[in-house]
Amino acid sequence: MSLDTVAVATANPDALQPYEQLGLKADEYASIKQILGRRPTSSELAMYSVMWSEHCSYKSSKVHLKQFGEKAPHSDALLVGIGENAGVVDIGQGYAVTFKIESHNHPSFVEPYQGAATGVGGIVRDILTMGARPIAIMDPLRFGLADAKDTRRVLPGIVSGVGGYGNCLGVPNIGGEVVFDETYAGNPLVNALCVGVMRHEDIKLAKAHGTGNLVVLFGAKTGGDGIGGVSVLASETFNDAKPTKRPSVQVGDPFAEKVLIECCLEIFKADLVVGIQDLGGAGLSCATSELASAGSGGMEIQLEKVPLRDPSLSPEEILMSESQERMCAIVEPSNIKHFMAICKKWDVTATVIGEVTDGTNLHITFNGELIVDVPPRTVAHDGPIYNRPIEKPTYIAERQSAKINVPLPSSPAEIKAAVLTLVASPNIADKSWVTSQYDRYVQGNSVLSQPEDSGMVRIDAKTNLGVAISTDVNARWAYLDPYEGAKLALLESCRNIATTGAKPLAVTNCLNFGSPEDPGVMWQFAEAVRGLADICLEMGLPVTGGNVSFYNQTGSVAILPTPVIGVLGVIQDVRTRTKMGLAKSGLEIYLLGRADANLSGSEWAYLHNEIGNFAPKADVAMETRLVNLLLEGQPLFESAHDISNGGLAAALTEIVLKNKIGAEITIDDVGVALMSETPGQVLIAVDPKSSHELIALAETHKIECRKIGISGGDALTINGAAIPLAELSQAHTETFPKLFG
């Protein structure tokens, strides 16, 4: 078999190459030629094509994402910012926390179980790569309509994939979202967030420094996973047209990842790596070019040393393989023996595949022949940048002139019927059919998990320092107004964090959108990014990293713009956290904030086939005061619960059902109060003795605060409409088992 070496490429400058099949545009191909001063070898072409893809190069989003840097608020907490595998923040006491959210949307549609599983595996490796022990997972999910046939295939598969991988890994799942909307049919969203913790001094970076240092590939063997497109090279370049069989789906091996985690942590503890990078999208191409370009540039790789699961792989395919559960480390020669011994202890395959050189280029040889000779920066960072056309879609004006007409309950009979309908709807219904498939207890530090407002884990069992995380977005608001929608998502996340008693510290995000080639979608994207950057600056929160997922659309119909925002908060003493469930009878229930009559984007409107006209406007000043009130008032609260999806009606249902303690509620303008989802509302329960303190505090912070009821009894009674808890519970809990078995 003839290799397309650098020498061959130089000798045959005009050989035809299938760059279009690999997704490269003619001008992109031309600029590769210009960079190299010759045509690329097929291996080089493979590397550039995948590293310059939307997924790896962020070519459509980069011009927008740079606002996160330009508008970045000053933050003393930020230890590692955007650009590394995950951002790192200082949470005090010498601890650093790293967290990030990523998407695995399309693979999860093709094969729900494995797609979701490998999505979890990928984000966990990103966190591990920073030197951290993964301590929590969250999984914001979006699906097509709950009763659609394909949702019955996709949802159970995705849920058991998230659980199957995470449970086996021993990382607790402490939160997430399950949302249904018809636009996600064919485009389910699987976003996965992971949090990790380490000591400051243990932070690791993806850098290849030090001439003579060794490049070690360790973890699973390399198979033909995820190289579908690249197989074309094998058949085009070599004339034996028979394409080999390559897997269409990547299969995760959580056990391999679990031992890889333990192995890495032991290696980190012994301080044996100079730099480290996980192998994710674009596999070795990405890892070697990123490591080299972040270092001094020179690296030499002997590709034939890569341990293979499938011996028929061509060099191009080895470079591209996205086999899971692999890592690449830079190790000083004096440490290699120790490194290998730890790998052996954990039965992890490890192989020296090359070394760092004092050159400027990444050289890859295959059985002694030079097949790649590139400046690594040109592969990893100098990809094309597009300023794609942007145009405000016409639906915006249409929506804004739409009249919406949603009936609101007012009589006791109407109230009861409306509440029971709402809380049984798939978006509001109890999600324990999903969450009971996830281990929330493992590691023994889960202080809060679903269905609380945020997940919370203890970091230090002696000092009780902890972190809280919440992910949110109301994509219907983002649809009506992506700028406000992104802002509101961040504010909701912050409110969730503060409701449980933690102080918001840093932000990650996963921007799920349709095709960037659609100017309307690009407008949604640009607006959402602008909104997020603005709100982060206003709230003084740094964006530490994130992920962009484009092309979530079927034909010309894009998903609702879905900028999932994750906020991380810190709590000095997790024992003081506030839970959502009413803790006992006789507590006074207060409502902070006030609902207005705008039902746009609410679940109640959605149930009446309305989406509305204008999203609410983000009120940063008010939300900041509210967060401060929540943090200051925490010692007073017996329980607290943020009001979001499903409004007060859903929030009341959740707080009474948690501990099966009812409540008697009286509220004016009851229909709006129950069903509107106006941001900035929180339910608080306090002991009657503390009520004047709460009222005084609310006055200080200029937050409206009304007593709306008292806890107790075995019904939720709203303005005389008594709903027995048993009936409420049945409506709330039977939806998922009925739908999904």
């Binding site: 094969e111 198979g223 069989k245 897997p247 269409s248 299969v251 499938d310 899971q324």
Partner: protein, 81 residues
């Protein structure tokens, strides 16, 4: 009464962590015969009387839609006794 057997295996190119776990456990227990191990599923379906061609066609269809995941698996249908 007869038994129709459906054997479902992962496609050869698909990673099989279960088979791998067995393959690496065997030598630890002193068994050296295996070059590789793949693990799959076996369904034994009891049907009344001798299976008719129409029934077998149905089983094929069930194997393709329910018993196996055609994205990652292959299957074989056999009649026993």
């Amino acid at each position: 009464m007869a038994t129709i057997v459906v054997e479902v295996m992962l496609k050869p190119e698909i990673l099989d962590p279960q088979g791998q776990a067995v393959a690496s456990a065997l030598p630890r227990l002193g068994f050296t015969f295996a070059q590789s191990v793949r693990q799959g599923k076996r369904f034994e379906i009891t049907v009344a009387g001798d299976p008719t061609p129409a029934q077998l066609a149905e089983v094929e269809k069930a194997a393709e839609t329910l018993l196996s995941n055609p994205v990652i698996e292959t299957f074989v249908v056999k009649v026993e006794k």
